[in-house]
């Protein structure tokens, strides 16, 4: 079979599995729809959480990002995994003990306030909607590149698949399809990495291969060789290049960790396990499954960078391998023989560099071809990329739909509606959320580019502190929590918008993106942690000078603090 037919077969089989699971897991109650009945075993929930968490960006873009940032890319590796430690110890078990369907519901119960609930819903919807746009784009692009299907058609097919299992199956359907998606995604990610590690270092385990000597008989360590090669071409040394400076690296890592722990679609996954104990274990399993990909990524990154340079630098244009031409047609790769010597020079100096564009996504997408792996592996990567985008999109869509049907409709506007009505509206909200996400994926607004900054910034500066204080403090009252959330969001958004424009419309940026205006040299994407500190400080000050929490709320906190 040729590559095209193989890819269609692989993607077709995986989609049939997802639809099959969707039909099998139809839901009949709100408890099944929102939290999969609350009986998901910890290991399976861990796997589903990993799929939910690892998006198209983790699968396709992260290794490429690290390939070009070197040590600087560690921010993402530590930031996007360390958050699970916070989640496991500071949030998940207690929220499970309290027992609720949505994150905003907890905030509403704990702070005895509909206003707090609405503030939480607004944060949640902004964070989730911006995040989901990226996934929809990922789905469209993956179809376009691998199956040569039109972007719009690809988007519609993706929406159709999610519609079947998310509308029918709710959280239950999403959970079990995510388990399947994790398996597909991890196989697709690790197999090419194993082959490449074996080719380059003779060691089949990429995590060990990265620390091994090259298989070319030179006895040189792979990372030492990479450092020599990149510095020889004028690039920064791979293993020591910082992301801006140490303060920024520190704060950025912290923001990503707090943001990860505060993202509602991740927290929500821990409402589906049976009890506190299961919630703790499940967080551990989630991180095991995430770590398999996240510790492989740095190996893929370094090996792909070395491979790429080896293949193209000082190579005759006429002898460039076939994949160069193929990726050139997609616009992700461009070269120009500026000095007319018939060879490609790939160097840091912009005036002399002849690889004029190397999109970072290429590092994962073209990796199997660069390493000359067989076609079935390339087809597998296509199915894996789609699984990553679909699983994250579905989790986010459920977070959006449940906050509309459960928090706004049932919780604020019409508390009297029956369960079957709420379930019906839950499905309607899900369908609406899919349509909205599809529309925004088709017409990405200006602010789509700032997705990461906004989603993590909001989660870190508003939701995480509010939930954590709600659990750990017996005295935090609604005035403090609301003031804290608003202060945290305001500071974070002002900082992001003043440098990147209001809702990321660049022309409205009132201080410009210039680094010399950055507070302590911290880039806007890294500002969530500062917002969180402001949130905590304001909340404590306000809570000190306002009314005490009612006795029943103190009792609720005591209950979360007990084993029974």
């Amino acid at each position: 079979m040729d590559l095209q037919a193989l890819t269609f077969t692989f993607v077709g089989i995986t989609f049939a599995i997802y639809i099959g699971i969707g039909l099998w897991s139809r839901t009949g109650s709100t408890k099944e729809f929102y939290v999969a009945g609350g009986g998901v075993p910890p290991v399976l929930n861990g796997m589903a959480t990993a799929a939910d968490w690892m998006s198209a960006a983790s699968f396709i873009s992260m290794a490429g990002l690290i390939a070009f940032l070197g040590y600087g890319g560690s921010v993402f590796l530590m930031g996007w995994t360390g958050g699970y430690v916070l989640l496991a110890m500071l949030l998940a078990p207690y929220l499970r003990k309290h027992g609720c369907f949505t994150v905003s519901e907890f905030i509403s119960d704990r702070y005895y306030s509909k206003t707090a609930r609405v503030v939480a819903v607004i944060c949640l919807i902004i964070a989730s909607v911006t995040y989901v746009i990226g996934q929809m784009k990922g789905i469209g692009v993956a179809f376009g590149r691998f199956l040569e299907v039109d972007y719009t058609d690809g988007l519609l097919i993706g929406m159709g698949i999610v519609f079947v299992y998310a509308v029918l199956g709710g959280m239950k359907g999403i959970t079990y399809t995510q388990v399947a998606q994790y398996v597909i995604m991890i196989i697709a990610y690790t197999i090419p990495a194993i082959f490449i590690s074996l080719q380059m270092t003779g060691n089949p385990i990429p995590q060990l291969g990265l620390g091994s000597t090259l298989a070319d008989g030179s006895g040189t360590y792979l990372l030492d060789k990479l450092d020599q090669v990149v510095t020889g071409l004028g690039f920064a040394e791979y293993t020591t290049q910082f992301r801006l400076n140490m303060t920024n690296t520190f704060v950025y890592t912290l923001s990503l960790m707090i943001g990860t722990a505060g993202l509602p679609h991740v927290i929500m996954r821990f409402f589906t396990v049976p009890d506190m104990k299961a919630a703790r274990e499940s967080a551990g399993w989630a991180l095991v499954f995430i770590a398999i990909l996240y510790t492989t990524a740095p190996a893929v990154a370094a090996m792909a960078r070395l491979n790429l340079i080896d293949t193209v630098h000082n190579t005759q244009v006429s002898e460039l391998p076939g994949w160069v031409a193929k990726w050139e047609t997609t616009g992700l790769l461009k070269y120009q023989d500026k000095n007319g010597d018939g060879k490609i020079q790939y160097v840091a100096d912009k005036a002399k560099n002849e690889m004029t564009k190397v999109d970072r996504d290429i590092m994962v997408l073209a990796n199997p071809e660069i390493a000359q792996l067989p076609n079935w592996i390339i087809a597998l990567v296509a199915a894996g990329g789609l699984a990553a985008a679909l699983s994250t999109a579905a989790g986010l869509l459920l977070a959006i739909a449940s906050s509309v049907s459960h928090d706004l409709l049932k919780g604020v506007w019409h508390p009297e509606i029956s369960e079957s009505k709420e379930l019906f509206y839950g499905r309607v909200s899900m369908a609406g959320a899919i349509a909205l996400a599809g529309y925004l994926g088709y017409n990405p607004p200006d602010f789509a580019a700032g997705t990461v900054a906004l989603a993590f910034g909001l989660a870190a500066s508003s939701l995480f502190p509010a939930i954590m204080m709600g659990i750990f403090s017996r005295t935090m009252n609604k005035e403090g929590a609301i003031a804290g959330m608003l202060a945290g969001i305001t500071v974070t958004l002002l900082y992001v918008f003043q440098h990147k424009g209001i809702m990321f419309v660049a022309s409205t940026s009132f201080m410009g993106g210039m680094p010399n205006n950055w507070f302590l040299g911290i880039e806007p994407n890294a500002f969530g942690a500062v917002g969180a500190v402001v949130n905590f400080a304001v909340a404590f000050l306000v809570a000190k000078s306002t009314a005490k929490v009612p006795a029943n709320i103190a009792k609720m906190v005591d209950n979360m603090h007990s084993a029974k």
Binding site: Y71, M78, G82, L223, K277, G284, Y294
Partner: protein
């Protein structure tokens, strides 16, 4: 009530211990002391680089399971 309090205090003490390790492996070894640790090598890895891109993640996983196990014991003792 006093039993509840001792349960919660045991939990808080355990969290503090775990988060101290969490902080040291990532922020101290992976960021603040990265340059000093890079002088030491672990196979082909510079040690600071290894902590930032591999080691911290392994420790995070171990920490969560350690916490879950210890909390399981604390749960059992307070029932």
């Amino acid at each position: 009530m006093s039993k509840d309090n001792s349960y919660w205090e045991a939990n808080l003490a355990l969290i503090k211990k775990c988060l101290a390790i969490w902080f040291v492996v990532s922020y101290v070894f992976g960021i603040l002391l990265v340059e000093q640790l890079n002088a030491i090598s672990l196979g082909g890895y510079k040690l600071g680089f290894w902590f930032a891109q591999q080691g911290s993640i392994y420790v995070f996983v171990a920490l969560i399971f350690y916490y879950a196990k210890k909390m399981g014991e604390i749960d059992a003792n307070s029932k």
